[in-house]
C-alpha cells in the first residue's frame, strides 16, 4: 500500500511537471474587432474624419481639442508636406536597397514577385517558408541582409530605412493581409489576446487605454484608436530618430513600466499582425512623422 502511494505521488508529480499549471493572468474584456480599418466606426468612430488622408479637415488639425480625432494622420503625407528626418531616412534606404539588390537577389529574398516591389509592404507580415513562421518586413530585411553578409538588425536605422523605402514604393496602396485562415489567423488571434493581456508594474494591457479609454486625456495626450496605425511605419520621431513598429511596442512597454521584449520576438510579431489587420484597407502613407 505504501509503495502504491509512493508511485501515485511520483506519477502526480511528473504529471505536474509535464503540464505546468497555467499562471494567473488578467485580461481586459475581449472586444470584437474587424480585420479592416473601417471597424473603427464601431469602436471610436473617429475613422469618419481620417478616412481619406488627402481630405483631412484643416480646422480639426489645428485644434488641440479635436486633432486626436484625425488619428494624427495630419502628420502623414500627402497632408504633411514638410521635409523631416523621414525623408533623409528614405534616401538612405534607397541607397542601401540598390546596393543590396545589385543582382536582384535581395528583392527576390524579400518576396517581391517578378521584382515588383509596389505591393511588398502592403502584404507583410506574412508566412515565410524559409523561416517557418510569420514574419514582419523588418525581420525579413534582417534575414535577407544577413544572407549577403550585411548586418541589418531589426529596429536599426538602416533596417528601418530600407523598410521605409519599400513602403514608399507602395504609397497609396491599401494594406492587405488575409487573417481569415492559416498561420496569419492564428497570429492575429494571439495578437488580439496579447493586446488585452495585463502586464507590467501598472497591470495595463494595450486595450486598457486604446480600446476602453479612447478620446480621454492622459494629461497632454489624448488616447487614440488602434485602427489604422500600421500604415505609416517606420516613422520619424525626433526623440527616437526612425522608429519601427516593434520598437514602438517596446517604448509603449517602457512607458507603462513593463519589461520590453526584443524586436522580432514572436509576441511583438503577433501584435504587428493584429495591428496591421486593423489597418487593412488603409493606404500606406510614408514618410510620416509623429510627436517627439
Amino acid at each position: 500500500m505504501k509503495t502504491l502511494f509512493s508511485i501515485l505521488a511520483a506519477v502526480t508529480s511528473f504529471a505536474a511537471l509535464a503540464q505546468p499549471e497555467i499562471p494567473y493572468r488578467e485580461y481586459e474584456p475581449l472586444d470584437q474587432y474587424e480585420p479592416h480599418v473601417s471597424g473603427d466606426l464601431k469602436l471610436s468612430g473617429s475613422y469618419q474624419y481620417w478616412k481619406d488622408p488627402a481630405k483631412l479637415d484643416y480646422r480639426m488639425a489645428g485644434n488641440p481639442d479635436e486633432n486626436w480625432k484625425l488619428n494624427w494622420k495630419f502628420m502623414d503625407p500627402p497632408f504633411n508636406q514638410a521635409v523631416h528626418g523621414g525623408h533623409f531616412a528614405l534616401d538612405r534606404g534607397e541607397k542601401l536597397f540598390k546596393q543590396l539588390d545589385a543582382h536582384h537577389r535581395f528583392a527576390v529574398c524579400l518576396g517581391a514577385k517578378k521584382g515588383k516591389l509596389k505591393h511588398l509592404r502592403a502584404g507583410y507580415p506574412r508566412w515565410r517558408d524559409d523561416l517557418k513562421h510569420v514574419a514582419g518586413l523588418e525581420e525579413v530585411i534582417e534575414y535577407c541582409g544577413a544572407r549577403q553578409g550585411r548586418v541589418l538588425q531589426n529596429g536599426s536605422y538602416d533596417n528601418s530605412a530600407i523598410s521605409l523605402y519599400l513602403a514608399s514604393l507602395g504609397n497609396g496602396q491599401p494594406i492587405a493581409i488575409d487573417v481569415a485562415k492559416g498561420p496569419l489567423k492564428e497570429a492575429f488571434e494571439r495578437g488580439r489576446h496579447l493586446f488585452h493581456t495585463r502586464v507590467g508594474a501598472f497591470n495595463f494591457s494595450c486595450s486598457s487605454c486604446h480600446t476602453h479609454n479612447i478620446g480621454k486625456r492622459l494629461r497632454g495626450n489624448v488616447i487614440t484608436t488602434p485602427y489604422g496605425d500600421a500604415a505609416h511605419y517606420p516613422v520619424y520621431r525626433t526623440q527616437f530618430v526612425l522608429q519601427s513598429l516593434h520598437l514602438r511596442f517596446a517604448e509603449c512597454n517602457l512607458d507603462t513600466r513593463t519589461q520590453p521584449l526584443l524586436p522580432g520576438s514572436q509576441p511583438y510579431t503577433d501584435l504587428e499582425v493584429f495591428m496591421t489587420a486593423l489597418t487593412n484597407g488603409y493606404p500606406i502613407s510614408v514618410p510620416a512623422e509623429r510627436d517627439w
Binding site: 505521488a9 511520483a10 538612405r92 476602453h212 486625456r217
Partner: protein, 167 residues
C-alpha cells in the same frame, strides 16, 4: 518512499524556470535595456533603462510568472496620514489620469478628484481603492499600488489624508 522524494525534489525545482526572465526580454545582466537607434547604422545600441522592470510580468509567451491576485487590505484606524506629503505623491502618481485641484492639464481617464471630501467615503474604502481597486471592480484600469509594491502603506495613508481633505 524514494519515488515520493524524487517527485518532491522535482516539484521543488519547478519554480527555477518560473523565476527567470524570458529569453526574449531585452535585458542584460538582469538589467532592463532600452534600444537606441543610431543614424546610418545597421546595429542598435542598447543602454540600461532608468528603471529595472524585470520583476513584473512581460508579454513573452515564455513568461511563466503569475500576476499578483486582487488583495484586500484591512486598514486599522487611525489613518495617520500626512496630507502635504499625500499631495506630493498624488502629483507624482495620480495626476496622469485624475484631475487634481490646480492642474492645468487634467487627465480624464479616472474620475476627477476635486472636492473629493464631499463624497464622505470611509478611509478604509479610499485606502483599498488605491491599494488594490480590483477588489471593487475586476476590470478597473487603476494600478494596484499596494499589491504590486509601488507604494508603501504609509504612502497610501498620506494619499488618503490628502484626498479626504480636498474641499
Amino acid at each position: 518512499m524514494r519515488f515520493t522524494l524524487v517527485g518532491l525534489i522535482l516539484l521543488l525545482a519547478t519554480p527555477a524556470w518560473g523565476v527567470d526572465l524570458p529569453p526574449d526580454a531585452s535585458v542584460s545582466g538582469g538589467k532592463t535595456m532600452a534600444a537606441k537607434v543610431i543614424v546610418n547604422s545597421g546595429r542598435l545600441e542598447w543602454t540600461p533603462y532608468k528603471r529595472d522592470l524585470g520583476r513584473w510580468l512581460t508579454l513573452s509567451y515564455q513568461d511563466r510568472r503569475a500576476t499578483p491576485e486582487p488583495t484586500p487590505f484591512e486598514l486599522k484606524a487611525p489613518t495617520n496620514g500626512d496630507a502635504a506629503r499625500g499631495k506630493a505623491l498624488a502629483w507624482q502618481w495620480c495626476i496622469t489620469c485624475h484631475t487634481l485641484p490646480g492642474d492645468e492639464w487634467p487627465g480624464t481617464v479616472g474620475s476627477p478628484m476635486a472636492k473629493y471630501k464631499q463624497f464622505k467615503h470611509p478611509d478604509a474604502l479610499v485606502f483599498q481603492q488605491i491599494f488594490d481597486a480590483r477588489i471593487f471592480n475586476p476590470n478597473t484600469v487603476m494600478p494596484a499600488y499596494g499589491t504590486f509594491g509601488l507604494l508603501a502603506e504609509q504612502d497610501i495613508r498620506d494619499l488618503v489624508a490628502y484626498l479626504q481633505n480636498l474641499e
